[in-house]
């Protein structure tokens, strides 16, 4: 099996040196072509290996690194939720920390003041963050590009200042709130980094699955249409304002729920965790990894959250390298490290079922424009063939 994998890798590499073939490589890598039972065995084997690796990771890494992986996974889920708005729908939203904050504070306030079990606050945190997104995004949804960006920065700043100034006497000001009760699932309390590892891994897996299904659907396509050409989307019957809001709300609901997880993990929620800088970090993860691509965003989270930690010794140069890397990215690979692959549709059953250009042929016959064609309509070239063949001179 290993030899097979190596062989395939060589094949892919050989292709990947060619220009556009690179994307074929990426697309195939994500959606491997079906090559009989042995190909299936390979992918099952790889999946099993991956799952085993993920499940045993904490015992290999130790507590410190496990905790770091936990952080990375939280950022990955947050970035995936931002990816719905920024990656799929193309809305420049740099205030995601605001929604995250609403979720985290919902949990913190309910847990400290009303003693609600943390896990119960999770759906409520999501719902409130979604509602908040609906309220703040509705008036600004028509803004485009950098105008939207500026307003969303404003939103996260306002939320941050509101939290610092102890709004309604609920948020505890600059010190924030201290949460003493842990998450408890069927009596098992989630306290240690290892507990959190499995808990967050589960959330990450569910998020990936649900977002993958959502992006390969009418909803995901609608967001992409808006990203590609908003006017055309509206003019072909997509309610663009509705879908842009829906993207915001879905992203915010997820960020809100992650706020709960974050609050439980960190045990203190304070305004510093939900700053503009956090929003920029999430934005950078999506843009660097590949807007609209789940694997890309995961890679982006790994690179941006883990690498600075791994290269801690080079601390002084970290931001320098980081900045240079971002500039280089924007010049050489603006689509991100792993741009999204194409959606594949099963249309084989429909191919050839509808005679190509049938209506055109019928009309030509009616007119008798080409008497020789009347004998066998199948011999007539379709409109597309004509456009391909004879249209080349243009």
């Amino acid at each position: 099996m290993i030899r097979r994998a190596a062989h395939q890798l060589r094949r892919y590499r050989a292709r990947s040196v060619l220009g556009p073939e690179r994307y074929v490589f990426l697309a195939e890598w994500r959606n491997p072509p079906r090559s009989g039972p042995s190909g299936l065995g390979l992918s099952v084997g790889l999946s099993l290996a991956l799952v085993t690796m993920l499940l045993t990771l904490p015992s290999v890494l130790g507590l410190y690194w496990t905790d770091l992986v936990n952080d990375m996974m939280i950022y990955a889920v947050l970035a995936l939720s931002l990816n719905v708005i920024l990656g799929h729908c193309g809305l420049f939203h740099m205030g995601h920390a605001a929604f995250y904050a609403v979720g985290a504070y919902t949990t913190a306030i309910l847990a400290t003041r009303f003693d609600v079990p943390i896990l119960l606050t999770l759906p409520l945190a999501g719902a409130l963050a979604g509602l908040f997104a609906l309220l703040v995004a509705r008036p600004i949804i028509h803004l485009r590009g950098d105008y939207l960006l500026v307003v969303t920065i404003g939103i996260v700043e306002i939320v941050n200042i509101a939290l610092k100034s102890n709004i309604f006497g609920l948020t505890g000001g600059a010190n924030g709130l201290l949460i003493l009760n842990p998450i408890s699932i069927f009596g098992h309390e989630i306290v240690s980094p290892v507990d959190f590892y499995y808990f967050i891994l589960l959330i990450l897996a569910v998020t990936i699955l649900l977002f993958y299904l959502a992006q390969n659907s009418r909803f995901g396509r609608a967001l992409n249409y808006i990203k590609q050409d908003e006017l055309a989307a509206e003019s072909t019957g997509v309610n663009t304002a509705h879908y842009k809001l829906a993207a915001f709300v879905l992203g915010a609901v997820w960020a809100g729920m992650l706020g709960t997880v974050f609050a439980a993990k960190i045990e203190t929620v304070s305004p510093g965790s939900f700053s503009y800088a956090q929003s920029v970090l999430l934005f950078a993860i999506v843009i660097l990894g590949g807007p609209g691509s789940i694997t890309g965003v995961l890679l982006g989270a790994f690179l941006i959250i883990s690498l600075p930690e791994i290269f801690r010794d080079l601390q002084n140069y970290r931001m320098l390298v980081f900045g240079a890397a971002m500039v280089a990215m924007m010049i050489f690979r603006p689509q991100g490290l792993m741009p999204p692959g194409r959606r594949r549709y099963k249309v084989g059953q429909f191919l050839g079922r509808f005679p190509a250009g049938a209506a055109l042929r019928r009309n030509k016959q009616l007119e008798g424009a080409d008497p020789t064609a009347l004998t066998d309509p199948a011999d007539l070239p379709s409109l597309a063939d004509l456009a391909n063949g004879e249209g080349k001179g243009r």
Partner: protein, 270 residues
Amino acid sequence: MDRLPNVPVLTLAGLYKRFGGLVAVNNVSFTVPQGAIIGLIGPNGAGKTTVFNLITGNYKPDQGAVLFEGRDIAGLKPHCVVELGVARTFQNIRLFQGMSALENVLAGRHCRMKSGVISSMFRLPGQRREEKQALERAMKELAFVGLEKQYDNLARNLSYGNQRLLEVARALATDPRLLILDEPAGGMNDQETQDLVHLIRAIRDLGISVLLIEHDMSLVMKICDNLVVLEYGAVIATGSPAEIRRNPKVIEAYLGTDSEAAEAASGGRA
């Protein structure tokens, strides 16, 4: 919903649209009878595309009514107009360039589908059925315009003529009863234009009324039942292609009067 046989698909009544001091559309009224192919012609800048944008909801008229099957649609949002049964193509092609031909046509199916985020995330049976039906219909429309084999090509990789056809397929996928084509033959060669004539007739044979802007006079004269001529935002003539061809006002609008022509020739007024 039953359609009354005698109600025109589209009636424009006294439409006005001003952009600042410019009256782009000045008291425009005409009708598109059911099953007709109507051509809207006129010199550049006459306001043809503005009229289209008023019909499709991209602009709001300052005054006047746009009746689609007897219902006033003026000022509705474009996606609502599409939902009611008016589809359009654009003068400068507006496809989703980075997406496949099939996905472009699926965009047209969007407004006839219902599944939302939740049903997609959990792949509920209704969502899967709907998705399959949409794929089938999209492939049918692609086959109709002759692009079936190119379903997986990115829109930007199609030839110019094929991109125009893809826009038509996308519009047809919305189940329109009125199709609005903005310069469908723009940038096409003679052969492609020939095929377009057949395509537009085939569309009409499906029971879809067609309103089109076109500069290619041979095409317009060949397929249109009636023509509406605009100049400086106002209708200067309506009638059959033969009538329009003889109409002195139209000839003047397109070619200028004798005195103007003489002046231009002598280089008098700049």
